[in-house]
Symmetry: D2
Subunit: 279 residues, 4 copies
Amino acid sequence: MAGYTLVAREHKQEDTIIRLGEVVIGGSAKVYMAGPCAVESREQLLTTAKLVRQGGAQMLRGGAFKPRTSPYDFQGLAEKGLEYMAEAREATGLKIVTEVMDISAVPVVAQYADILQIGARNMQNFALLKTVGRLDKPVLLKRGLSATLEEWLQAAEYILYEGNQQVIFCERGIRTFTTHTRNTLDMSVVPVIKQVSHLPVIIDPSHGTGRRDLVESMALAGLAAGADGILVEVHPNPEEALCDGPQSLNPKEYFSLMQKLRAMEDFLFRLARPRAVGE
Amino acid sequence: MAGYTLVAREHKQEDTIIRLGEVVIGGSAKVYMAGPCAVESREQLLTTAKLVRQGGAQMLRGGAFKPRTSPYDFQGLAEKGLEYMAEAREATGLKIVTEVMDISAVPVVAQYADILQIGARNMQNFALLKTVGRLDKPVLLKRGLSATLEEWLQAAEYILYEGNQQVIFCERGIRTFTTHTRNTLDMSVVPVIKQVSHLPVIIDPSHGTGRRDLVESMALAGLAAGADGILVEVHPNPEEALCDGPQSLNPKEYFSLMQKLRAMEDFLFRLARPRAVGE
Amino acid sequence: MAGYTLVAREHKQEDTIIRLGEVVIGGSAKVYMAGPCAVESREQLLTTAKLVRQGGAQMLRGGAFKPRTSPYDFQGLAEKGLEYMAEAREATGLKIVTEVMDISAVPVVAQYADILQIGARNMQNFALLKTVGRLDKPVLLKRGLSATLEEWLQAAEYILYEGNQQVIFCERGIRTFTTHTRNTLDMSVVPVIKQVSHLPVIIDPSHGTGRRDLVESMALAGLAAGADGILVEVHPNPEEALCDGPQSLNPKEYFSLMQKLRAMEDFLFRLARPRAVGE
Amino acid sequence: MAGYTLVAREHKQEDTIIRLGEVVIGGSAKVYMAGPCAVESREQLLTTAKLVRQGGAQMLRGGAFKPRTSPYDFQGLAEKGLEYMAEAREATGLKIVTEVMDISAVPVVAQYADILQIGARNMQNFALLKTVGRLDKPVLLKRGLSATLEEWLQAAEYILYEGNQQVIFCERGIRTFTTHTRNTLDMSVVPVIKQVSHLPVIIDPSHGTGRRDLVESMALAGLAAGADGILVEVHPNPEEALCDGPQSLNPKEYFSLMQKLRAMEDFLFRLARPRAVGE
């Protein structure tokens, strides 16, 4: 009935913890991933990477292959973008996460990325799921715009079934009738996934709202809901971003956010140890 | 275009603060409202009210007139239920909030309640909005299951337009395609309402999820998102509740929740004063 | 479990047929109801009524009490509007259907109307359902914007439970993520209602799409899906309508529509009698 | 703004008509495609193909590569399934339409299929869209479960932009809050697509409802709404189908459907020529 087994908590009691050198995902500490929607140029990316590092995130996000609704929109720098990502990793020590859009690009993306991202529109691209399921690299699996929790878990099952046990769920908002946000961030999936699965789950408040001014409150709420980390878009100059400018933080907003998220993380850590609260 | 004026921040810069004796809604402290879905008996209500008081909430919620999907479901104790609510107020000092379902019941409900609740199904019952708009009592206006933010603000405008400036918004989940929760709690409306309106906004994680096991994480997330308070269902024995048992907290869960919410409130208070963080 | 009994086909095998003089709803012939969104003036209504009569519809629709999202929108002519409706009935022989928005207006609306309409926003206004349930007049029950089929059937059950067995369902579109239409007309409820209930069901393609240019195709589709009739908005001059102008047909469009609907009705009548097809 | 050009009616005034030998899609006659959800065996497919032919449809549908929510569900016969499809074409003269799920399978599917289907979950698999855009074969582009009309048109634009001008839109239901059907068939896109685009559009009432008992009424409604054809699932023994049994017609239902659809087609043809109506 459920259609999934390997992702279930029944199958594996203890939390899955994913390690990338010093970066730990799914443990007691939170993971922060930040960066631009798209890699636009070497300079833009290196500048952003340094900001991201300075703010305290452990991972750099950035798209080299961009899924765009219209063929007339900027489609990404492709492998050149991956090279810049790798260079930014060298320069900053940040691990990198980037999207892979189709099976033909898996080898090249896997060559550069520390984590491969499967985007919302590809959540049920089963050939792609199977292909990344044969890799030995973690996969960030975004929720589809209209995916039920069951469908999302089953999409992850495709990856684990092929052998790759390192999947990170990422809630990025679902499509509803509302219009005040680009998508509706479904915060409730966080505690539900922690119940039914052993895999980590993070929140993307940038896509989840589409509005820069809502990122901070939703990111704080995401941690409070139990998320293992936060993925946000930041750009040195959001007004000039080639994609998703309206939802990208500027550097000042990003630094402020990171300071608050670390304070929230610290608070939640103590809250989970009752004696420590209010000390 | 917007269709509302009086509820807008442009119309009134400072936050509206609603005072009921010592209870303050919309100020720097949070408000907690707890109680059963329905008033079932004098004993059930008084027992619950004492628990609610003990846990630290300032207000008792409880339905005397119940909007039920089927005519064959329990419809509430009507005025007898209101009498029990008033008795519970006497016994505990808690203020009381209860739903009014139609204009004919406004006088009797207004006679007993400290705050009148307009339920989700009545958010666009314009005759009811106008009638409570002529009262001198605060109104808790729940969001309709498929109401856009604009429609919700305009519903509040009906109340303010009639003279009553004391409206509290309550997000209780919207209807989407998801099935893992009863409704989808739209956390993003909290910061948006704080931006565009001067009126307070609270979160109802009980209806917002329909699942007792998700109430705590969503309530914490709600405060982190900036809500002015939390409304939760608690029952001495949820398994025997005449309505909404699956989403009602038992006393132990309620006490644990309140302890964590107060810790979160304290943390958020310090977070808003940067120097104090991490002291 | 189902929460309804009296509306069920199990309870009453044969179709419920509602008769208003010569107008028959739920029988082998279709019913057509047309008129303006709102009664705006005596002249506007009488002009429209004559057009409606000329086009061949049997009933005149028109709102005297208007549920409007914003308090600043035109709220209707109230009882004066009802008087004009009655006068139009006298002048044309059309039966009249008009909305009642709250229990206090039931007596006056019932005094004038042949059929009382419960609007989408009031589908779960249980006090109103109970009140019209005690009348001896048919009720047109529109589907709520986010009502499931079960909830809609249960809303009708409230009316039948009080004694009034004359309910007509009206599908008028549900709220979804789509933006090319105002609502999404859920055509599939038509055959489902015919299966599970003995009550008639009609389609409102005007609200169901919000676009004049889609009314004809959706009305034809509605009959093909098995609806017992069609409710459409028509206005002598849609550009000047005080509400819903963009979805109101002009007279020429209305006449064309009626001609096609009658042809479709005739075709479907023969289709249901296999021997006659293609004769 | 719109994000599409080549698919627009502004770009090409006259309707695009797709010809596959004697089969014409988008002209004055309707196209009917029928067959099983999945090719299960040689015998099952040949039996079904003969039924499909006998009933009067011009094309055989059948999945060799199946997108399944769970990795534990039947995944299709792959190339062996395509061979059976080709054999069925030989045996019956029916043209064949079958799904291609990823770019690596495009060559083999294109070798067998007359029309390549892009499934709902792949509507924004841009690599796949680009790849089929370089073929000289028609593409049936199903609407994504939560795709807006704009997104769907832009997905088609990807195909036309690469050179392939032969795209057929297929509405197969969207995801909404309703539960009485598997999806909600959005009938209104049919007339809207005919307005804004020159490409043909068909309806899939099987996926659009998920219920065999609703297929006939929705198919008739689809033609009445202006669709250029109908795609339905039929199986010699739906109870034993390896996928989508509940929505597959049995042979008797299929024959009855086809008879009614042809009568409807004939009626609509005459309706569009006013003088002929009622003759």
